[in-house]
């Protein structure tokens, strides 16, 4: 049998305990940093007061009657098209997230960003919760898509086409019905909204 001196044994146990303690501390730091990053992302997603408050037209979907109505809302807007588009859509989505809501969206539904490509194409990036928690049905999904695109087009007139992405990726449908693969023409959606008014 190998003899290990008592002082060596105590040192080894002490060092082992230190390794475990440091491991737990590193894990704790990792979790803390992840939570901070998530919080920072949420803050980043919240509407920014980037300009003076303006009254803007928003096209709000009403589930009870299956219609879209034009209303007005206040939003801090910028003249920069992509920021303006983002704030306009967030104002609409916040309206849907209120309780009671005329057209409830799932918890965590957010417009993450809007990118303007070639001046006339808006690429709207919505959160995965927006799509994953959206109610399924032709009418309910059409109301969401139509109200978003019409609101966007009414406030940023240079936009003539809209593409919707989910968490930066293409997706077949919003929740089983509404087309997210194609690019929407604002004029086509305008005709759809007219039919829903």
């Amino acid at each position: 049998m190998i003899y290990i001196p008592r002082n060596m044994l105590i040192t080894a146990v002490f060092l082992l305990a230190c390794v475990f303690a440091m491991g737990f501390y590193v894990l704790h730091l990792k979790r803390q940093s992840e939570q901070e990053a998530a919080r920072a992302q949420l803050e980043n997603l919240a509407p920014h007061p980037v300009g003076p408050e303006e009254r803007i037209p928003v096209f709000v979907a009403y589930d009870d009657d299956g219609v879209i109505r034009e209303e007005s809302a206040s939003a801090p807007l910028s003249n920069e098209p992509s920021e303006r588009s983002r704030e306009v859509l967030r104002t609409l989505v916040n309206r849907y997230l209120e309780k009671p809501s005329p057209h409830p969206l799932g918890e965590g539904s957010q417009v993450k960003d809007v990118y303007i490509v070639n001046r006339d194409l808006a690429v709207v990036d919505i959160s995965s919760d927006f799509a994953n928690r959206h109610r399924s049905g032709v009418l309910v999904e059409s109301l969401t898509i139509a109200s978003m695109i019409e609101t966007l087009a009414a406030n940023v007139p240079q936009i003539t086409k809209v593409k919707i992405m989910v968490d930066g990726k293409e997706r077949d449908t919003l929740s089983g019905h509404a087309d997210l693969m194609g690019t929407y023409n604002v004029t086509d959606v305008h005709a759809l909204v007219k039919a829903m008014q």
Binding site: G66, S136, G137, V138, D172, G176, D179, L192, A195
Partner: protein, 505 residues
């Protein structure tokens, strides 16, 4: 215990567990198949449940007699039977009945269970024919009974022309469930009364060498074997089913004018399979002949029961999902259209998963006169008819020469509907008007619903909601009577819309 003995014990336990799992699987599968008896007569074709009592098969007399216009009454001591102007009586607990004054020995005693009189299955034909004074043909092993001279017979003939095919001509319209698997096309006839003396059919065709006929548990089945993918087409008011093999060159990527039927578990129609549900077909739709003619220049309606398999669609209630309602409604619509002489093709006739791109590809390959996507929802009331949100000018701008009167050229996948959207609107408007005239509330609007934009033929989507009087009762969507009313309304509307559509061609 030695190490060797321990390993042996572990292996034995593992094998025992595996056997248990396999056995329980077999038992569950077996238990799920409910026994049924199918009865075919000139008055009604129907199926009833078969119950096992004391090791014998029994059926409920009332379930048998009612569809035939008869009645079964228990007066406290005897079971009185009445059918086709004759009467008889049986005594519960005894293997005897008196039919038309003659005493009859049964294969087992008559049982009274919860007020329902049960008769041994083996003796049923004697009881029935004793009362009806008619002959019968009882296939006891497969539990199928033909009364009188009833029987939907058929003949099968091969056509070795360009697209090898076999035509099954039935003596009465049929409505089988059709499924495909590699090298086979299976048609299951439940209430059509299909009967055949032949079990094997051989054809002088390399592509479709043979077919088999078999019967099992109240159903008849025809399995057509093929060396190429197979698809089925209905014609002659549902009396003829033509099973076609894909052209040989279709094994390579093919455009829409050379359909590439690829068997999928869920679809009788040619459906190019894709690995991912979101992937788009790599081959664009090519229009080499007028898009509005339908296959062979006739009126063909493709019915697409939306969702299916893992993709349930809207969860309407705890027990009700959209995929079940759409399948049930699509089947009813198919039956109603076929009853009106309109050939149809169902893209999904079971609970299989099919991506929207595969649905569009299958529909385009069939080149229908009209594509109908069936949906169900809880919002609003009545029927909503949708057409594509495209305005019809997309392809004219991007592809000069393409558009409404397109004759040739590639169509972009995302706007394949553009050239047909005008006709889609004409049909949608007409269907809406017809439904409203039939007192079924209907409205029409464009909607961004997939895969309407990808269909290169007139295309509409229907979303069924509960009627106004049952707005808050979403379970009413499963009501057979409501579904039937809707199916009849839509089928009638489509047949009447045909005139307006033809005018516009």
């Amino acid at each position: 215990m030695t190490a060797r003995a321990r390993i042996f014990s572990i292996h034995t336990a593992a094998v025992a567990l595996l056997c248990l799992a396999v056995l329980s699987g077999v038992w569950v599968t077996h238990a799920q198949e409910k026994k049924k008896l199918s009865i075919y007569s000139s008055r009604a074709n129907y199926s009833v449940a078969v119950r096992d009592v004391d090791g014998k098969e029994y059926v409920a007399l009332s379930e048998i007699f009612q569809p035939l216009g008869g009645a079964v009454v228990y007066d406290g001591s005897k079971i009185k039977l009445r059918l086709a102007g004759s009467s008889g009586e049986c005594e519960p607990g005894k293997p005897k009945c008196k039919i038309g004054g003659n005493s009859m020995e049964l294969a087992g005693k008559i049982i009274l269970q919860d007020g329902t009189a049960l008769v041994p299955l083996h003796s049923l034909p004697f009881v029935l024919t004793g009362l009806m004074d008619t002959k019968f043909d009882f296939h006891e092993n497969s539990r199928r009974m033909f009364l009188g001279n009833y029987g939907n017979t058929f003949k099968a003939e091969a056509n070795k022309a360009d697209a090898p095919s076999v035509a099954f001509e039935f003596s009465a319209p049929v409505n089988p469930s059709i499924s495909t698997e590699p090298g086979k096309l299976r048609m299951v006839f439940s209430t059509d009364g299909v009967n055949s003396g032949n079990e094997q059919f051989k054809f002088d065709s390399d592509a479709i060498p043979n077919a088999t006929y078999s019967e099992h548990n109240g159903e008849a089945e025809i399995v057509v074997s093929g060396t190429r993918p197979l698809m089925a087409e209905f014609s002659d008011g549902g009396r003829t089913i033509t099973v076609k093999a894909a052209p040989e060159q279709a094994k390579a990527a093919a455009p829409a004018d050379q359909p590439t039927p690829q068997p999928t578990e869920s679809a009788p129609a040619p459906a190019p399979s894709s690995g991912e549900s979101s992937s788009q077909p790599t081959t664009p739709v090519i229009a080499t002949q007028p898009l509005f003619s339908g296959r062979g220049g006739r009126y063909l309606v493709v019915i697409d029961a939306s969702h299916g398999g893992d993709e349930v669609g809207a969860t309407l209630s705890d027990e009700l999902t959209e995929k079940d309602i759409t399948l049930s409604l699509a089947r009813r619509l198919r039956n109603e259209l076929q009853a009106r002489g309109v050939p149809t093709l169902m893209l999904r006739d079971n609970d299989g998963t099919m991506s929207v791109d595969d649905r569009a590809a299958a529909a385009n390959a069939a080149r229908p006169t009209l594509y109908i996507s069936v949906h169900a929802g809880s919002m609003g009331h009545g029927i909503r008819v949708y057409t594509s949100v495209l305005n019809g000018n997309e392809n004219t701008e991007r592809y000069p020469g393409a558009g409404v009167k397109v004759k040739a050229g590639f169509l972009p996948w995302e706007t394949a509907q553009a050239g047909s959207v005008e006709n889609s609107r004409i049909i949608a408007t007409s269907v809406t008007q017809q439904l409203n005239q039939s007192k079924i509330h209907a409205s029409w609007s464009p909607a961004p619903v997939r895969p309407l934009n990808n269909i290169a033929s007139p295309a509409i989507a229907l979303e069924i909601a509960p009627p106004d009087s049952k707005r808050d009762d979403v379970s009413y969507l499963a009501n057979p009577s409501y579904q039937q009313t809707v199916a009849i309304g839509v089928a009638t509307a489509l047949v009447n819309a045909r005139g307006k559509y033809e005018e516009n061609r």
